[in-house]
Symmetry: C2
DNA sequence: CATGGCGGTATCATTTCCGATACTATGGGT
DNA sequence: ACCCATAGTATCGGAAATGATACCGCCATG
């Protein structure tokens, strides 16, 4: 589990936000979910899509998503082994969230848009 | 900044998701933003709403939100000092994201819904 | 005079996360 | 015999995020 946030979820109204965040927190979970919305994928496919992830991290993140009931892990007992990851029903309910994130990222998180902090003439 | 994620944002399509996540990552940013959507608030108000946050953390998170251009910090030079935090235009664009998170949290992150892992009869 | 509220900062310690590397098992190809 | 691919695990170490605590100036109140 990432960053152990609150255990009690029945606190202030804003807590639902935190509660939701707990599930997609972790360096790679957002992207993993995003890719799984496209289709079911096997381990090595995800690995290729995430490029910079290590095997250990991918495994860890997938295991957490599985533990949280968002992702289903299906082992096909073949040689060579084949393991497929897909979204559960619960996982699919995250679609609006992931898409909201993606849309915002596309619109407002581009490098060119980032530096609206203060005066831009600090290139001394 | 939290968890230093990728620096390059022009990688795979899923990256926009990660990029967006960078801005609301941090244990308290989600809730802070949520509360600021309600209205402008001063430091101590936020502190009361977040209950478990330490002064240091609240300051840190607010400073990061400010640095990212999502939150505006206004100092009223009075006695006692009054500092108000409000959302910037850029910050307000996060509304769909935060609300998607809140809605999901309300619907699917309740304690009763969490344990769909495996067989529940492991209470040995 | 001591206390409390405001909005912080400074310092230190801990917890947690993440990355790198090495190792495993099976079977196929050459 | 040796290397490759799949899908992992195990172990170690460092970096980063978070928490606890103490301290600051200022003023009003009791």
């Amino acid at each position: 589990m990432p960053r152990t946030r609150h255990v009690r979820l029945d606190c202030s109204p804003g807590c639902a936000v935190e509660a939701a965040l707990q599930f997609i927190d972790g360096k790679w979970k957002g992207v993993i979910l995003f890719h799984l919305f496209e289709r079911t994928m096997r381990f090595s496919e995800l690995r290729r899509r995430l490029a910079n992830v290590t095997q250990r991290m991918l495994t860890t993140q997938l295991r957490e998503l599985e533990r949280d009931g968002l992702v289903l892990r299906t082992i096909h007992p073949e040689i060579p082994p084949r393991v497929e990851y897909s979204l559960t029903d619960r996982g699919r309910t995250l679609h609006p969230v992931i898409m909201a994130l993606k849309d915002w990222g596309d619109m407002y998180a581009r490098p060119a848009t980032i530096p609206p902090a203060t005066a831009p003439s600090a290139a001394a």
